[in-house]
Amino acid sequence: MTLKATTPTRPDALSDRAPKTASQGLDLIGQRRGRAGLNRTSVLAAGVVLLFFASVLLGSYTVTIPDFFTIVANHLTGGAKIPGASFIVMENKLPRAVIGTMIGLAFGLAGALFQTMLRNPLASPDIIGISYGASAAAVVAIVIFGASGAAVSGAALGGALGVAALIYAISSGTGMRGAGRGNAAGNRLVLAGVGIAAALHAVVNFLMTRADIRTAADALVWLNGSLNSASWDRAAVLFLALAVLLPAVAVISGPLRLLELGDDTAAGLGIRVNPTRLALVVIAVTLAAVATAAAGPVSFVAFLAGPIARRFTRKASLPASALVGALIVLAADYFAANIAPLLLDGTALPVGVVTGALGAPFLLWLLVTNNRKDA
């Protein structure tokens, strides 16, 4: 009886269900991809936490985990200090790791914002001369005006913003607007930036040859990027800047997703393209500038973070890029401070030297593979 009743309806039911399950299957694939992206982002976050603690606890002076928590708790409550360890952790290792993480996040985000907005992996603030503007201004302040401390950081901030304004003015100059804007605007920005970076390079080289050896040594820190002078004051300034900038990034990330589709498409979807682009430039430049002001231009972090995050999570993602930035800085600093001395007769390297050594081959590789794709 039941067989008879069900058999005739079965073909209908099947044909009804077939396309539905097919589309559900595809939905699942889509969701799985999304979830995989999220999982991979949390893997990155876990990696950052792990490296953070590794750089605080391990290295030339090893601290056990219980000791670390005792030190931090006692520092906050004003309790007893562990001789030696308290000072090294609280005044050296912890601020160093905190600043390293924050500048990594800032550089990673700044790079990813630029690269996404301009649809060009070369368009990160370190390639287009914005970080270099910061260091050039710092060197000018040190060598010519004999500045030090906060004044140098301020000069670096001003230099980055000034260079960014100059690049923006040159690349969006009148007489160049036409039907073919969009990508062309991005390419002009990159070219203008590369040109300005070359000019600044000449200025810095000139100043370095004129400066006396001690001033030059001070200035050199601003050309390499280093966490050696990390302090809680700097960490606090950086933290305040990020407390403003990170929410701004969250707000602008929505319109950025549409700018990715091309200027015209974005405009058709109700984005005011030029104000949005200006806001993006200001946010990204400020991120790069405050990070540079805190630790010098740690080269190639902004440039590397976005593409690596994209390859790892298989899609463009700002949080992943920020985390990769932090990972690069923490790993490179650990290498520079703890592993490089073993290889180089005890000389600790500034972190920027390590990221620079990593970044240059990657830049070449990216150029080669991109060209192959175009050909």
Binding site: P19, A22, S23, L26, D27, L28, I29, G30, R33, T116, R119, T174, G175, R177, G178, A179, N183, G254, R257, L258, E260, L261, G262, D264, T265, A267, G268, L269, G270, I271, R272, R310, R314, K315, A316
Partner: protein, 270 residues
Amino acid sequence: MAVLNAKDLTLKYDQRCVVDGLSVEIPEGRVTMIVGANACGKSTLLRGLSRLLKPAGGTVTLDGKDIHTRPARELARTLGLLPQHPTAPDGITVRDLVGRGRYPHQGFFRSWSPQDDLAVQQALEATDTLELAGRNVDELSGGQRQRVWIAMALAQETDVLLLDEPTTYLDLAHQVEVLDLITDLNRRRGTTVAIVLHDLNLAARYADNVIAMKAGAVVAQGTPRDVVTEGLVRNVFNLESRVIPDPVSATPLIIPIGRHHVPTELELVS
């Protein structure tokens, strides 16, 4: 419903004037095709109508209100645009791309809603791209990709939709498919459609209303039957032709006459 109107519209790129003092109405609920030779200003007109280009003079109004004084996002709920070369970010899925068409409907604090899901679903169904929803856009063929972009414009759920050469780089079958799809949209939802199209024969087949442009001015406007004539083709494209009734649709069919492959007696006739 919405009426898009241009009055004394002047459009310039820097100092170069492309459209000068043009007045035109895009009739409500119809399919309008804008045709003309290369560089006659038809794409520029579409940019002007969609606020991509700020007019140097004159106004563009939607339902009597100047489109340049309305908030961008509010306008994008009524007026949609598919530009000629949209770019898909690397690794984006079809569903994600179509979902971005919902942006104008989302508030500052209101994120994705079931209504957005429904609109995306309907857009995917209407463009027959539901089975592609989980695929990456870079993996698709040219025809599929164009359907996905149209789906994104559909998800925007606007009363007016402007399309700039939506059939470029597509083979004939896909061109017809895209134009059929747009006609479906017009018939089912009553969407007002304006399309810049290169192919005059397809324009004559699919248009309710043709706007022919030459050197930044409107030369003729009306139904294909009234407007598309041998004289118009000569005037606008500088091309000799025969115009006969399309054996399939009875709309005007343009047979171009070049210098070769033309028997001499036909040259005498024309």
